[in-house]
Symmetry: C2
Amino acid sequence: MRYRLLHTDGGARAGVIQTGRGEIPTPIFMPVGTQGAVKAIEPRALRDLGASIILGNTYHLYLRPGTALIERAGGLHRFINWTAPLLTDSGGYQVFSLSDLRGIHKDGVEFKSHLDGSLHNFTPEKVVDIQRSLGSDIMMVLDECAPFPCTEEYAHASNAMTLQWAERCKERMEATAPAYGVEQALFGIVQGSIFPAIREHSARRLAEIGFDGYAIGGLSVGEPTEQMYAMVDVCVPVLPREKPRYLMGVGTPENILEAIGRGIDMFDCVMPTRNARNAVVFTAHGRLNLRNAKHAEDFSPVDPDCLCYGCRNFTRAYLRHLFKAGEILALQLATLHNLTFYLWLVRTARQAIQEGRFAIWKSELLKQMRS
Amino acid sequence: MRYRLLHTDGGARAGVIQTGRGEIPTPIFMPVGTQGAVKAIEPRALRDLGASIILGNTYHLYLRPGTALIERAGGLHRFINWTAPLLTDSGGYQVFSLSDLRGIHKDGVEFKSHLDGSLHNFTPEKVVDIQRSLGSDIMMVLDECAPFPCTEEYAHASNAMTLQWAERCKERMEATAPAYGVEQALFGIVQGSIFPAIREHSARRLAEIGFDGYAIGGLSVGEPTEQMYAMVDVCVPVLPREKPRYLMGVGTPENILEAIGRGIDMFDCVMPTRNARNAVVFTAHGRLNLRNAKHAEDFSPVDPDCLCYGCRNFTRAYLRHLFKAGEILALQLATLHNLTFYLWLVRTARQAIQEGRFAIWKSELLKQMRS
């Protein structure tokens, strides 16, 4: 995997990540396909709207349908028939947030499945092995996402363990080979809660170990937004300029614009897809709740400037009706729209960076979104 | 509306219905879009797979979003952005099956909404007026779908009332004009439960009144399949040869083939869409339940002969995983497949009729489906 930095504009960067399965222009938003599918959208539609990479989730896929089945299918790409790049997170976050956590120790974590209560363990080596089986283009190290809030002592100890796990993940990666003949990259994950010194140490140590890219994890977990940005500002200068930077699980369109301005290249979030299923749609003029009575007789599209299939063909009044009537088509159209918007957002940000007008474009768009 | 009979082959007919919004090749299957949307499929995908007409439901649309809103949208076609023909049923069936029926008398029916318990009434005139507001290309008369089983006396009295309602619907239709400048046809509905004499009388009387087409209703409601076919055989010879014949709410692929062989031109049924959402898919080799464990490691498509997006790109193992994981994509892909199959079925039947080999094609396909 290779990252080429093409342009900088203030702190913002435009680049391209080259993988064995194609290029990813950055900044990029990665739609979340937790269980091997992005909810309520066909893969062909995802490609049509410019999704160059999607996420899968190691924790979920390991539990169901299971690594063995995906191996027999020839890897996750073949199983879900997605030929472009895939990133898989390590499952660490889900072990801590979803499963019944039974124990955490220097060798890894023990947990009970949220599906059937069965007992499992993840070690740094095992999550690399699983991601080798999945065949993701970008693998993530096992980490502990510290709860928020937590004490500085907790964050320090947790991060020390996460750093050891990161090192072991890298060793395991170097001792193993891709299962399907396509190179796989490994990203480290900066932790440290909201403590600048721990964040800085984490980023510095990960850079020493050396990864193909660096994620900033453990943010957007309840801390004030300004603290999230402050942590990004602590990490970015320490991370290698020649590697991509990924802010995990973030966020709103506003969060993404601010983080791009601070030097982040990659984003993932369930926000566009989950909000779509709750009738909340994003536009360049702010967000709308399509269940709201004020849309009942509004025969204009969700966003007149949007070129998605929904906005070109259907009205707010119709979408509101579909949501009120519980029609699956509502989820489909709102999902398509929100992902179109998020991918438009990063694509347009990239163009603004390349043309040296990111800051002004961002500030105008943010103003428009708030009005 | 004009029906042209192009070929007959035994009892089977190939024809074309010309409407103000385009042609409908017959025999045809009409996907059901009860609330103004066919569940779990985009309208553009419906058109791509050859759906030349879809159904809307007067009862549902009258209650939600309401006739006034659809009128302000410019009619149902514009509200849902479906430019091809639409058929709306009269709501009679839903009043009897879904609502809290409060009273039935010669002037119509009183019922409480299944949505909010509000009190409403439908008269023959009112259902024509509503369908004028909706602007459907094919309107249906108000009828009583007699419960099954029922006595001959009940069926006789019920049908006498349905015939009077049919006459009043026709009068109302002749006294009113299309709301949106596009001609609207009106179909009568033959009732009579499983009593041949009542069915024959019903068909004869409706033919005397004169409609643009004739539906056979009140079947596939629990009676043995052979009785359904027997009722079709009673009605078809009495109905005008130069008008289309529509068997309402039918049915399985087998039912459709048998009914085509008996002279039916039009079908609608929730079976392909509802079954899809329950993981049951139809193929030319029979039906499959994709939740079945035997598909867990089956990396072949649902139907290797099918050209739908799902069958060209995804395996049974993946679809099973999507169903087990509760992914909306499962519903989307299975719906797309089942509608593709149903439309393939009627299109191929039509071709076989035109080539004079319907009987042998049908018998071979039925054998293959059962094997």
